[in-house]
Amino acid sequence: MQLEKIPAILERYGMVFLEGLGGTLWFSLISVAFAVFFGTILAVMRLSRVKLFEGFVDVYLWIIRGTPILLQLYFFWLGLPRLLHMELSNETCIVAALIINASAYVCEVIRAGIQAVDSGQTEAAKSLGMSDFNAMTRIILPQAIKNILPALGNEFIVMVKQTSLASVFFVHELMTAQKTVQSATFQPMPSLIIAGLIYLAVTTVLTFCLRFFERRLHKSERSIV
């Protein structure tokens, strides 16, 4: 498997892998960040008891969760420039698709987190005459965050792996870097193994951080905000 070539390849192409990793982390972070924004809006719409909003979110979730992400990436890569009638970089199309995709999953995470807050809390807020907005932002969300944050961390870890699909479109991330090195060296296995080890290292570190964080959340019964 030419494993003995790994050190030499690392020495020569280390920067390529590192830059790839940078791209992977950047895409994951930006996707999850926007997904948190849109996912929150979607979750609130889903819980609004307004039929039109509920229906919209249901259809959205149905499509996004019922089709493969690779298909969605192709769809946006081909469709988004046509839809908007402008030139878009591969990166833009792929990030847009990742955000749209992650928003669906984050929406469910946030919805579950909100619903896990005791309904008595909403009732108490409403009985004091608080508006729906204030009840949501001052009472429910601060308590829901405790349920939501760990799941969001998971979503980020999933995203780190999912961005690898972007290599199909030669978007700058770790899996694409791996391909580049592969074709430069004509050695498929070493660069695959290097990329795999980097993914493992990143997900392992993230998982540890998440566990540590969760334990701290559990320790304090109060909200962290």
Partner: protein, 251 residues
């Protein structure tokens, strides 16, 4: 309070032909009733008789299936009514306290007045401390609710409602979730509140309390107010056989 003087008082809440269904289950059936200013009204009855649902309809936490709830001459069940605004005048205390666990004792009290009534922060704090002193919780003002006993949480919930300056407070079985030794401290607070002239509607299983502090007792059975009258009428002189049967079980 005599019949004559209670009639002279302003009508605070009027309920007209109020019905509530949960699916096919008819929980409330065509109830019409009034609550007058300064009245202390206890609602008693077997479980499942609709007491809590009736109470929760008074501030529209439960939406009536039909009929009207009129609070201070405004039909709350009407369209285009800002229920939130009117709820500020209708306090509610719950069986399970529902204090806000992520806020300190003081913040529990000041949040709604500063947000919804734009009360300045320092004034809200001053008022909160005044209220906390009244119920013996002043030294807990910077604690979080997880450090409070059940009785203390319920006392906090009561002053949280009071901080909005309501015209009436609804109590939904306020002592049912408490350890027996804490029931007294909460009932004492409600009693003191009644003596200040606050209008109170309370769903309760504490018959001794209902008898002692109420101006009027409503006995509910199968979604209707089956009988009502002064505590004397109900507890000594009940006419309806269902009331007699219920009281014989609980007294």
């Amino acid at each position: 309070m005599s019949e004559a003087s209670s009639n002279a008082r302003r009508e605070l809440i009027r309920v007209e032909n109020l019905s509530k269904n949960f699916g096919k289950l008819r929980v409330l059936q065509e109830i019409s009733e009034s609550i007058r200013e300064g009245e202390v009204v206890s609602i008693i009855g077997p479980s499942g008789s609709g007491k809590s649902t009736f109470l929760r309809c008074l501030n529209l936490l439960e939406k009536p299936s039909s009929g009207r709830v009129i609070f201070e001459d405004v039909d709350l069940s009407g369209k285009h009514v800002n229920v939130d605004k009117h709820r500020q005048k209708i306090g509610m205390v719950f069986q399970l306290f529902n204090v806000f666990p992520h806020l300190t004792v003081r913040q529990n009290i000041t949040l709604a007045p500063t947000l919804e009534k734009k009360l300045p922060k320092d004034e809200a704090n001053r008022r909160a401390e005044e209220l906390l002193a009244r119920v013996g919780l002043l030294d807990k003002r910077d604690e979080y609710p997880d450090r409070l006993s059940g009785g203390q949480k319920q006392r906090l919930a009561i002053v949280r409602a009071l901080a909005m300056d309501p015209d009436v407070i609804l109590f939904d079985e306020p002592t049912s979730a408490l350890d027996p030794e804490m029931v007294g401290e909460v009932l004492d607070v409600i009693k003191a509140l009644a003596q200040t002239g606050m209008t109170i509607v309370i769903v309760t299983h504490e018959m001794g309390f209902a008898r002692e502090v109420s101006d009027r007792v409503l006995f509910m059975d199968e979604g209707r107010i089956a009988e009502q009258g002064s505590p004397e009428d109900i507890f000594k002189n009940a006419q309806n056989p269902r009331t007699v049967e219920f009281l014989s079980k609980v007294l």
